[in-house]
Protein backbone atom coordinates (compact mmCIF):
# COMPACT_ATOMS: atom_id res chain seq x y z
CA UNK A 1 0.00 0.00 0.00
CA UNK A 2 2.83 2.33 0.89
CA UNK A 3 4.46 1.71 -2.47
CA UNK A 4 1.29 2.62 -4.35
CA UNK A 5 0.78 5.74 -2.27
CA UNK A 6 4.36 6.86 -2.85
CA UNK A 7 4.07 6.38 -6.61
CA UNK A 8 0.66 8.10 -6.80
CA UNK A 9 1.72 11.09 -4.75
CA UNK A 10 5.05 11.50 -6.51
CA UNK A 11 3.36 11.38 -9.94
CA UNK A 12 0.19 13.16 -8.97
CA UNK A 13 -0.32 15.10 -12.21
CA UNK A 14 0.05 11.92 -14.27
CA UNK A 15 -2.45 10.17 -11.99
CA UNK A 16 -4.85 13.06 -12.59
CA UNK A 17 -4.57 12.65 -16.39
CA UNK A 18 -5.44 8.96 -16.03
CA UNK A 19 -8.31 9.49 -13.59
CA UNK A 20 -9.85 12.29 -15.66
CA UNK A 21 -9.44 10.20 -18.82
CA UNK A 22 -11.29 7.27 -17.26
CA UNK A 23 -14.01 9.61 -15.93
CA UNK A 24 -14.56 11.09 -19.38
CA UNK A 25 -14.63 7.63 -20.98
CA UNK A 26 -17.29 6.50 -18.50
CA UNK A 27 -19.25 9.72 -19.01
CA UNK A 28 -19.31 9.43 -22.80
CA UNK A 29 -20.31 5.77 -22.45
CA UNK A 30 -23.20 6.73 -20.14
CA UNK A 31 -24.25 9.64 -22.38
CA UNK A 32 -24.39 7.31 -25.33
CA UNK A 33 -26.07 4.30 -23.70
CA UNK A 34 -28.36 5.85 -21.10
CA UNK A 35 -29.40 9.13 -22.69
CA UNK A 36 -28.93 8.24 -26.36
CA UNK A 37 -26.65 11.23 -26.74
CA UNK A 38 -29.29 13.69 -25.56
CA UNK A 39 -27.06 14.78 -22.68
CA UNK A 40 -23.52 15.67 -23.75
CA UNK A 41 -20.80 13.38 -22.39
CA UNK A 42 -18.82 16.32 -21.06
CA UNK A 43 -21.89 17.54 -19.14
CA UNK A 44 -22.00 14.18 -17.35
CA UNK A 45 -18.24 14.29 -16.74
CA UNK A 46 -18.53 17.76 -15.19
CA UNK A 47 -21.46 16.63 -13.03
CA UNK A 48 -19.44 13.59 -11.88
CA UNK A 49 -16.54 15.95 -11.11
CA UNK A 50 -18.78 18.17 -8.97
CA UNK A 51 -20.19 15.13 -7.17
CA UNK A 52 -16.68 13.86 -6.46
CA UNK A 53 -15.73 17.34 -5.27
CA UNK A 54 -18.64 17.31 -2.82
CA UNK A 55 -17.65 13.89 -1.49
CA UNK A 56 -14.04 15.06 -1.20
CA UNK A 57 -15.03 18.20 0.66
CA UNK A 58 -17.27 16.35 3.12
CA UNK A 59 -14.77 13.52 3.69
CA UNK A 60 -11.66 15.65 4.18
CA UNK A 61 -13.05 19.00 5.33
CA UNK A 62 -10.72 20.73 2.87
CA UNK A 63 -11.72 23.33 0.31
CA UNK A 64 -10.39 21.94 -2.98
CA UNK A 65 -12.84 19.10 -3.43
CA UNK A 66 -11.43 15.77 -4.53
CA UNK A 67 -7.91 17.22 -4.66
CA UNK A 68 -7.80 17.08 -0.86
CA UNK A 69 -7.40 13.30 -1.07
CA UNK A 70 -3.60 12.86 -1.08
CA UNK A 71 -3.78 10.28 -3.87
CA UNK A 72 -5.73 12.67 -6.12
CA UNK A 73 -3.75 15.82 -5.34
CA UNK A 74 -2.83 16.16 -9.02
CA UNK A 75 -6.45 17.01 -9.85
CA UNK A 76 -5.79 20.26 -7.99
CA UNK A 77 -2.92 21.12 -10.32
CA UNK A 78 -4.64 19.90 -13.49
CA UNK A 79 -7.86 21.78 -12.69
CA UNK A 80 -6.16 24.80 -11.13
CA UNK A 81 -6.19 28.34 -12.43
CA UNK A 82 -2.92 28.06 -14.38
CA UNK A 83 -3.89 25.05 -16.49
CA UNK A 84 -7.44 26.32 -16.89
CA UNK A 85 -6.30 29.68 -18.25
CA UNK A 86 -3.67 28.04 -20.48
CA UNK A 87 -6.27 25.76 -22.07
CA UNK A 88 -8.87 28.55 -22.35
CA UNK A 89 -6.40 30.75 -24.26
CA UNK A 90 -5.59 27.79 -26.54
CA UNK A 91 -9.27 27.55 -27.51
CA UNK A 92 -8.94 31.01 -29.10
CA UNK A 93 -6.71 29.46 -31.78
CA UNK A 94 -8.61 29.67 -35.05
CA UNK A 95 -11.18 32.20 -33.84
CA UNK A 96 -12.11 34.71 -36.54
CA UNK A 97 -11.52 38.39 -35.72
CA UNK A 98 -14.67 39.21 -37.65
CA UNK A 99 -16.86 37.31 -35.16
CA UNK A 100 -15.28 39.13 -32.23
CA UNK A 101 -15.83 42.55 -33.77
CA UNK A 102 -19.45 41.76 -34.57
CA UNK A 103 -20.29 41.04 -30.94
CA UNK A 104 -17.85 43.51 -29.38
CA UNK A 105 -20.35 46.15 -28.28
CA UNK A 106 -22.93 43.65 -27.03
CA UNK A 107 -20.14 41.84 -25.19
CA UNK A 108 -18.96 44.97 -23.36
CA UNK A 109 -22.50 45.98 -22.42
CA UNK A 110 -23.24 42.48 -21.17
CA UNK A 111 -20.26 42.57 -18.77
CA UNK A 112 -21.56 45.69 -17.01
CA UNK A 113 -25.20 44.55 -17.20
CA UNK A 114 -24.21 41.15 -15.80
CA UNK A 115 -22.29 42.56 -12.82
CA UNK A 116 -25.01 45.07 -11.94
CA UNK A 117 -27.95 42.68 -12.36
CA UNK A 118 -26.34 39.87 -10.33
CA UNK A 119 -25.42 42.39 -7.65
CA UNK A 120 -28.95 43.78 -7.41
CA UNK A 121 -30.45 40.29 -7.21
CA UNK A 122 -27.99 39.19 -4.52
CA UNK A 123 -28.42 42.39 -2.51
CA UNK A 124 -32.23 42.15 -2.74
CA UNK A 125 -32.13 38.63 -1.31
CA UNK A 126 -29.84 39.77 1.51
CA UNK A 127 -32.41 42.48 2.33
CA UNK A 128 -35.23 39.91 2.20
CA UNK A 129 -33.31 37.88 4.76
CA UNK A 130 -33.30 40.85 7.08
CA UNK A 131 -29.84 42.34 6.58
CA UNK A 132 -29.76 46.11 7.16
CA UNK A 133 -25.99 46.75 7.35
CA UNK A 134 -24.88 48.26 4.01
CA UNK A 135 -21.52 46.45 4.16
CA UNK A 136 -23.27 43.07 4.58
CA UNK A 137 -25.82 43.77 1.81
CA UNK A 138 -23.09 44.92 -0.57
CA UNK A 139 -20.86 41.92 0.18
CA UNK A 140 -23.61 39.36 -0.36
CA UNK A 141 -24.63 41.15 -3.57
CA UNK A 142 -20.99 41.06 -4.67
CA UNK A 143 -20.89 37.34 -3.88
CA UNK A 144 -23.74 36.82 -6.33
CA UNK A 145 -21.43 38.46 -8.91
CA UNK A 146 -18.63 35.89 -8.41
CA UNK A 147 -17.03 34.14 -5.47
CA UNK A 148 -13.94 36.31 -5.98
CA UNK A 149 -15.77 39.66 -6.09
CA UNK A 150 -17.59 38.80 -2.81
CA UNK A 151 -14.56 38.48 -0.53
CA UNK A 152 -12.59 41.23 -2.33
CA UNK A 153 -15.50 43.63 -1.77
CA UNK A 154 -16.20 42.41 1.76
CA UNK A 155 -12.62 42.87 2.87
CA UNK A 156 -12.40 46.31 1.28
CA UNK A 157 -15.52 47.65 3.05
CA UNK A 158 -15.06 45.80 6.34
CA UNK A 159 -17.82 43.17 6.29
CA UNK A 160 -17.81 40.43 8.94
CA UNK A 161 -16.15 37.06 8.29
CA UNK A 162 -19.50 35.27 8.42
CA UNK A 163 -20.91 37.52 5.71
CA UNK A 164 -17.81 37.07 3.56
CA UNK A 165 -18.16 33.29 3.86
CA UNK A 166 -21.82 33.59 2.82
CA UNK A 167 -20.83 35.66 -0.20
CA UNK A 168 -18.32 33.01 -1.29
CA UNK A 169 -21.01 30.34 -0.92
CA UNK A 170 -23.44 32.38 -3.04
CA UNK A 171 -20.78 32.75 -5.75
CA UNK A 172 -20.04 29.02 -5.65
CA UNK A 173 -23.73 28.19 -6.03
CA UNK A 174 -23.84 30.49 -9.05
CA UNK A 175 -20.74 28.97 -10.63
CA UNK A 176 -21.94 25.37 -10.13
CA UNK A 177 -25.42 26.19 -11.38
CA UNK A 178 -24.00 27.74 -14.57
CA UNK A 179 -21.94 24.58 -15.15
CA UNK A 180 -24.97 22.32 -14.81
CA UNK A 181 -27.71 24.60 -16.12
CA UNK A 182 -26.17 26.00 -19.31
CA UNK A 183 -26.53 22.89 -21.50
CA UNK A 184 -30.13 22.54 -20.28
CA UNK A 185 -31.24 26.08 -21.15
CA UNK A 186 -28.92 26.74 -24.14
CA UNK A 187 -31.61 26.17 -26.77
CA UNK A 188 -34.20 28.30 -24.99
CA UNK A 189 -31.92 31.34 -24.67
CA UNK A 190 -30.56 31.13 -28.22
CA UNK A 191 -27.06 30.14 -27.11
CA UNK A 192 -25.90 28.67 -30.41
CA UNK A 193 -23.67 31.30 -32.06
CA UNK A 194 -20.51 33.29 -31.25
CA UNK A 195 -22.44 36.50 -30.60
CA UNK A 196 -24.80 35.05 -27.99
CA UNK A 197 -21.86 33.15 -26.46
CA UNK A 198 -20.01 36.44 -25.91
CA UNK A 199 -23.11 37.97 -24.34
CA UNK A 200 -23.56 34.84 -22.24
CA UNK A 201 -19.96 35.00 -20.98
CA UNK A 202 -20.35 38.67 -20.11
CA UNK A 203 -23.64 38.16 -18.27
CA UNK A 204 -22.64 35.08 -16.27
CA UNK A 205 -19.05 36.10 -15.65
CA UNK A 206 -17.98 33.16 -13.53
CA UNK A 207 -15.01 31.92 -15.58
CA UNK A 208 -15.27 28.38 -14.21
CA UNK A 209 -19.02 28.24 -14.73
CA UNK A 210 -18.88 29.67 -18.24
CA UNK A 211 -15.91 27.47 -19.16
CA UNK A 212 -17.66 24.29 -18.07
CA UNK A 213 -21.16 25.29 -19.13
CA UNK A 214 -20.12 26.10 -22.71
CA UNK A 215 -17.89 23.01 -22.91
CA UNK A 216 -20.94 20.90 -22.13
CA UNK A 217 -23.09 22.83 -24.64
CA UNK A 218 -20.87 23.34 -27.68
CA UNK A 219 -17.05 23.45 -27.39
CA UNK A 220 -16.90 25.76 -30.44
CA UNK A 221 -18.53 28.53 -28.39
CA UNK A 222 -15.99 28.34 -25.55
CA UNK A 223 -13.48 30.97 -26.73
CA UNK A 224 -16.20 33.57 -27.33
CA UNK A 225 -17.82 33.15 -23.91
CA UNK A 226 -14.51 32.89 -22.08
CA UNK A 227 -13.20 36.06 -23.68
CA UNK A 228 -15.88 38.30 -22.12
CA UNK A 229 -16.18 36.29 -18.89
CA UNK A 230 -12.55 36.96 -17.98
CA UNK A 231 -13.23 40.71 -17.79
CA UNK A 232 -16.23 40.26 -15.52
CA UNK A 233 -14.48 39.58 -12.22
CA UNK A 234 -12.23 42.61 -12.76
CA UNK A 235 -15.20 44.86 -13.46
CA UNK A 236 -16.99 43.39 -10.43
CA UNK A 237 -14.01 44.09 -8.16
CA UNK A 238 -13.93 47.61 -9.57
CA UNK A 239 -17.63 48.41 -9.04
CA UNK A 240 -18.36 46.38 -5.86
CA UNK A 241 -16.41 48.24 -3.16
CA UNK A 242 -16.95 51.62 -4.87
CA UNK A 243 -20.07 52.71 -6.77
CA UNK A 244 -22.26 49.78 -5.74
CA UNK A 245 -21.33 50.17 -2.06
CA UNK A 246 -22.01 53.93 -2.21
CA UNK A 247 -25.44 53.32 -3.73
CA UNK A 248 -26.36 50.74 -1.08
CA UNK A 249 -25.08 53.06 1.66
CA UNK A 250 -27.31 55.85 0.37
CA UNK A 251 -30.37 53.68 1.00
CA UNK A 252 -29.37 52.13 4.34
Amino acid sequence: MDIIETVFVRNNLVVAFAVVGVTIWISYFLADKLTNGRIHGSAIAIALGLLAAYIGGVATGGNTGVADFALLGGIGLMGGGMMRDFAIVATAFGVQLRELKKAGLAGVISIFAGVIVSFIVGAAIAILFGYTDPAAITTIGAGAVTYIVGPVTGEAIGASDAVITLSVAAGLVKSILVMIGTPLVAKHIGLDNPQSAMVFGGLMGTTSGVAAGLAATDPKLVPYGAMTATFYTGVGCLLGPSILFFIVSAFY
Binding site: V20, I46, A106, G114, A144, L166, A169, T230, G234
Partner: protein, 130 residues
Protein backbone atom coordinates in the same frame (compact mmCIF):
# COMPACT_ATOMS: atom_id res chain seq x y z
CA UNK B 1 8.37 22.12 -34.08
CA UNK B 2 5.48 21.53 -31.70
CA UNK B 3 7.15 23.53 -28.97
CA UNK B 4 7.02 26.71 -31.08
CA UNK B 5 3.24 26.69 -30.88
CA UNK B 6 3.27 25.90 -27.17
CA UNK B 7 5.77 28.72 -26.61
CA UNK B 8 3.61 31.17 -28.58
CA UNK B 9 0.59 30.15 -26.48
CA UNK B 10 2.59 30.60 -23.28
CA UNK B 11 3.92 33.97 -24.39
CA UNK B 12 0.37 35.16 -25.17
CA UNK B 13 -0.87 34.05 -21.74
CA UNK B 14 2.01 35.62 -19.84
CA UNK B 15 1.79 38.89 -21.77
CA UNK B 16 -1.99 39.02 -21.29
CA UNK B 17 -1.68 38.27 -17.57
CA UNK B 18 0.95 40.99 -17.08
CA UNK B 19 -1.29 43.53 -18.83
CA UNK B 20 -4.34 42.33 -16.85
CA UNK B 21 -2.39 42.63 -13.61
CA UNK B 22 -1.14 46.12 -14.57
CA UNK B 23 -4.72 47.16 -15.39
CA UNK B 24 -5.75 45.94 -11.94
CA UNK B 25 -3.06 48.07 -10.31
CA UNK B 26 -3.93 51.08 -12.47
CA UNK B 27 -7.62 50.78 -11.55
CA UNK B 28 -6.77 50.08 -7.90
CA UNK B 29 -8.56 46.72 -8.04
CA UNK B 30 -7.38 43.57 -6.30
CA UNK B 31 -7.88 41.41 -9.37
CA UNK B 32 -6.47 40.62 -12.76
CA UNK B 33 -8.60 42.62 -15.19
CA UNK B 34 -9.20 40.54 -18.31
CA UNK B 35 -5.72 39.01 -18.52
CA UNK B 36 -6.99 35.81 -20.09
CA UNK B 37 -9.22 37.70 -22.51
CA UNK B 38 -6.32 39.91 -23.61
CA UNK B 39 -4.13 36.80 -24.03
CA UNK B 40 -6.84 35.28 -26.23
CA UNK B 41 -6.88 38.42 -28.38
CA UNK B 42 -3.09 38.12 -28.86
CA UNK B 43 -3.49 34.51 -29.98
CA UNK B 44 -6.32 35.46 -32.34
CA UNK B 45 -4.16 38.21 -33.86
CA UNK B 46 -1.19 35.85 -34.17
CA UNK B 47 -3.22 33.06 -35.76
CA UNK B 48 -4.79 35.51 -38.24
CA UNK B 49 -1.45 37.11 -39.16
CA UNK B 50 1.02 36.18 -41.89
CA UNK B 51 4.02 37.15 -39.75
CA UNK B 52 3.44 34.39 -37.20
CA UNK B 53 2.92 31.64 -39.77
CA UNK B 54 5.94 29.60 -38.62
CA UNK B 55 4.55 29.58 -35.08
CA UNK B 56 0.97 28.66 -35.93
CA UNK B 57 1.06 26.34 -38.94
CA UNK B 58 1.93 22.69 -39.34
CA UNK B 59 3.32 20.92 -36.30
CA UNK B 60 3.70 24.19 -34.38
CA UNK B 61 -0.06 24.63 -34.72
CA UNK B 62 -0.69 21.15 -33.34
CA UNK B 63 1.12 22.21 -30.17
CA UNK B 64 -1.64 24.79 -29.66
CA UNK B 65 -4.41 22.45 -30.82
CA UNK B 66 -3.33 19.86 -28.26
CA UNK B 67 -3.93 22.27 -25.38
CA UNK B 68 -7.17 23.41 -26.94
CA UNK B 69 -8.31 19.77 -27.03
CA UNK B 70 -7.19 19.26 -23.41
CA UNK B 71 -9.62 21.99 -22.45
CA UNK B 72 -12.55 19.73 -21.57
CA UNK B 73 -10.48 17.29 -19.46
CA UNK B 74 -9.01 20.27 -17.62
CA UNK B 75 -12.50 21.66 -17.02
CA UNK B 76 -13.58 18.28 -15.62
CA UNK B 77 -10.61 18.37 -13.23
CA UNK B 78 -11.56 21.96 -12.37
CA UNK B 79 -15.11 20.84 -11.50
CA UNK B 80 -13.67 18.09 -9.29
CA UNK B 81 -11.68 20.60 -7.24
CA UNK B 82 -14.47 23.12 -6.60
CA UNK B 83 -15.52 23.73 -3.03
CA UNK B 84 -18.96 22.17 -3.56
CA UNK B 85 -19.31 21.29 0.12
CA UNK B 86 -19.02 24.97 1.08
CA UNK B 87 -21.64 25.92 -1.49
CA UNK B 88 -24.03 23.34 -0.03
CA UNK B 89 -23.23 24.49 3.52
CA UNK B 90 -23.95 28.13 2.64
CA UNK B 91 -27.60 27.66 3.53
CA UNK B 92 -30.73 29.09 2.02
CA UNK B 93 -29.50 32.67 1.58
CA UNK B 94 -26.45 31.64 -0.46
CA UNK B 95 -28.50 29.15 -2.43
CA UNK B 96 -31.24 31.66 -3.29
CA UNK B 97 -28.79 34.47 -4.11
CA UNK B 98 -26.84 32.17 -6.45
CA UNK B 99 -29.90 30.69 -8.13
CA UNK B 100 -31.66 34.03 -8.61
CA UNK B 101 -28.55 35.64 -10.10
CA UNK B 102 -28.20 32.80 -12.61
CA UNK B 103 -31.88 32.72 -13.58
CA UNK B 104 -32.05 36.47 -14.20
CA UNK B 105 -28.75 36.43 -16.14
CA UNK B 106 -29.93 33.51 -18.30
CA UNK B 107 -33.08 35.47 -19.11
CA UNK B 108 -31.04 38.48 -20.28
CA UNK B 109 -28.96 36.49 -22.81
CA UNK B 110 -31.52 36.59 -25.66
CA UNK B 111 -32.29 40.27 -24.98
CA UNK B 112 -28.67 41.50 -25.01
CA UNK B 113 -27.74 39.23 -27.91
CA UNK B 114 -29.82 41.49 -30.13
CA UNK B 115 -27.60 44.52 -29.44
CA UNK B 116 -25.53 45.47 -32.46
CA UNK B 117 -27.14 42.63 -34.32
CA UNK B 118 -30.33 44.40 -35.36
CA UNK B 119 -29.00 47.39 -37.32
CA UNK B 120 -25.86 45.62 -38.53
CA UNK B 121 -27.13 42.45 -40.16
CA UNK B 122 -27.75 42.63 -43.84
CA UNK B 123 -31.08 40.87 -44.11
CA UNK B 124 -32.64 43.24 -41.61
CA UNK B 125 -31.25 46.20 -43.52
CA UNK B 126 -32.99 44.87 -46.57
CA UNK B 127 -36.20 44.45 -44.65
CA UNK B 128 -35.91 48.06 -43.52
CA UNK B 129 -35.42 49.24 -47.11
CA UNK B 130 -38.41 47.25 -48.32
Amino acid sequence: MIVYGVALLSACLILGMVIGEALGVALNVEANVGGVGIAMLFLVFASNSEKFKTLTEGSAGSGIKFWSAMYIPIVVAMAARQNVAAAVDGGLLALLAGIAAVVVSFALVPILSKIGNSPATDDQKEQGAA
